[in-house]
Symmetry: C2
Subunit: 381 residues, 2 copies
């Protein structure tokens, strides 16, 4: 009998379509709310209200306490039927990670898609907003995102990266393209820019509007070696980039293989990698983008001071090599703000040419999508 129940359960889950196999987008409900686009197929909640407050409703009859952590924690209130619910404050634009806490156990919300972030599969919610047109899916030519496996002679293991190829890549067989190498943050991996970042849509839309030139975008996994922010990890990534990622990309795709056709950028931990790999290799990259980063004080003082010495001794060469050294932050609420400002001051002091851009929103994906949107049009022109 136990076996039969299990069989019926399996039958419902796998062989028969789950109830969730319904139409993904539902009509607004009585409150004018709509299911988040990040909900799994057919899930009504999380429900986004017109003022961007979010209704969460979770069935957990045996739980003692249920919370949603969206940066701020919200306690859900138990109803009589085993459901718990809460309506949040108004949530800002775009993509946010969040966590469901069942009796204080932090897990992903089964009602939402999961994304690799915060060092695990985390829930994500997409808040639509008026300024989101630049990363919207539109009727323009679309490139492909390719999942590509390669063998790393540095780590002696198979690794994978995503490669965006622009519209026309397959049909214009003689054309070669410049490449933007772009790095995720700590607790994320190569999936970050491809999914949370909406890199393909941002670049598709920019190319269609003739604001950016057609380019490849390579999104590698920057977690390498022992991980972390020590110099050993920074060196391991530098080696992986120089010995594996760039040669593999240039061997397998039609790329223009000169420094002024290579850009390197990254967010948070990826910005630190960009500072380390990029500033010491201006013969390889002519364009650098550092989003929400800055040498970490005091943990990275020794690494930073060594680099500042290098910059001082080589300022004229670096200024000549780099066609763009672009730094950005998510306003004062960005956790990297103070470190970033200290570094900007040092760059001024050392006469290293750079541009700075600020967009409020803190240390979050809406800020990094926006950074890519402003950075990409400046490349390869």
């Amino acid at each position: 009998m136990r076996k039969l129940t299990h069989l019926i359960c399996l039958l419902q889950l796998v062989y028969f379509p789950a109830i969730s196999q319904q139409i993904k987008t539902a009509a607004p409900d009585m409150l004018g709310g709509v299911p988040a686009s990040t909900n799994i197929r057919g899930a009504k909640y999380p429900l986004i209200l017109p003022d961007h407050r979010v209704v969460f409703k979770v069935k957990a009859p045996d739980a003692q306490k249920v919370q949603i952590d969206l940066g701020k924690k919200y306690d859900l209130v138990k109803e009589q039927d085993g459901f718990w619910n809460v309506t949040t404050d108004s949530i800002g634009e775009g993509f946010h990670y969040y966590t469901l806490l069942i009796d204080a156990f932090a897990t992903a919300d089964p009602a939402s898609e999961s994304f690799y972030g915060m060092g695990r599969m985390a829930s994500g919610i997409e808040i639509p907003f008026a300024g989101g047109d630049y990363y919207a899916m539109k009727d323009v030519p679309h490139g492909d995102i390719r999942l590509k496996k390669y063998y790393s002679t540095v780590t002696q293991s198979w690794r994978q990266m995503y490669v965006y190829t622009p519209p026309g890549y397959d049909s214009h067989n003689a054309e070669k393209y410049p490449v933007l190498y772009i790095l995720h943050g700590g607790g994320e991996d190569e999936r970050g820019w491809a999914t949370q970042g909406r890199t393909d849509m941002i670049i598709d839309n920019l190319i269609a509007a003739k604001k950016a030139v057609p380019m490849l975008v390579v999104m590698p996994d920057a977690n390498i070696g022992a991980g972390g922010f020590g110099e050993e990890s920074l060196k391991a990534f530098e080696k992986e980039m120089e010995q594996c990622i760039i040669p593999f990309t240039e061997k397998n795709y039609r790329t223009k293989n000169t420094a002024d056709n290579r850009a390197l950028a990254g967010l948070s931990m990826g910005g630190i990698n960009t500072l380390y790999t990029g500033l010491y290799h201006t013969a390889i990259f002519s364009y650098l983008g550092v989003f929400s980063s800055g040498w970490i004080v005091p943990a990275q003082n020794a690494i930073a001071n060594a680099q500042y010495d290098y910059l001082k001794q080589n300022s004229s060469k670096i200024n000549q090599d780099l066609r763009l050294f672009w730094l950005s932050q998510g306003g004062r609420e960005d956790i990297a703000y103070k470190n970033g400002q200290l570094m900007l001051g040092k760059l001024d002091e050392l006469n290293i040419k750079h541009s700075y851009y600020e967009y409020p929103g803190g240390h979050t994906w809406p800020v990094w999508r926006n950074a890519l949107y402003h950075f990409a049009p400046l490349l390869f022109k």
Copy 2:
């Protein structure tokens, strides 16, 4: 102070590398166990012992009850330090979905990668086994898997599919390829064959061994219309296939556009779609693969009987059109076994030529990977 704690927490999670940003594969522990390859980076548990029993260890100090559901449910035992653990029975080969139950709330295990299956983001665990060589990552030429967005004139919405392009696709610009269209099961989507299925590795290895010809593999999202197994949903998918998926593929990739260069296959719900779309369109597809399916008795009797009538009236044409009609099941333990056997009997009775293959393991991904491995070499020869 609350804000500061939150900031430090964010700093640890996002800006600083999470502790989980460590080397992914660890040395065997004292028991000879190794972390599953499906664990997130740095997670020790689930830990697979040499005899394929699995140790789960979960920190949940406030939970009253913790279980793992791997088909069979296992109760975890609480230790003194807030951890719960259990060692399972020996688990069979390959990929299995599983669920973590925290106080009876079914969710994904934060220690594992999540996969879209069972109608939600579910945990998955990969059990290595001696026969898994055919889907292992090997030093052979590798194709790409591409994430491709297209506008469906049937659903009036943007949809996405994965497209595997074989090694050499980019460099052999004049060559055209046959196409296998392959469909996921209920509660899954286009990600199923690309991730759980290891389609790229199976086909890469087969091509390298000269057992299969180079081909494209298109993995669409078969969840369409109202979903489910009614004729309306089957018709909606048939229309999407005929009016959108095939024309889009043949427009955007270098394909051979004749029936004997098109195959259609699917598992479970996707096998039902294959029966419906495939058998009525032998002018479009010369190869059909039906994995772990069979018209569902009695729910689909009317649809099945109409098809059996059609087969009876058109048996000689169908036998002439189809170069292969291949059916498979996961042994007697496959939940589709009885329906499948009934249908096989009908095919015999109606003199419809077909091949049948059985591989034990039930209604699961190890069986479907194996089905693809045996089906793909029979195509386009």
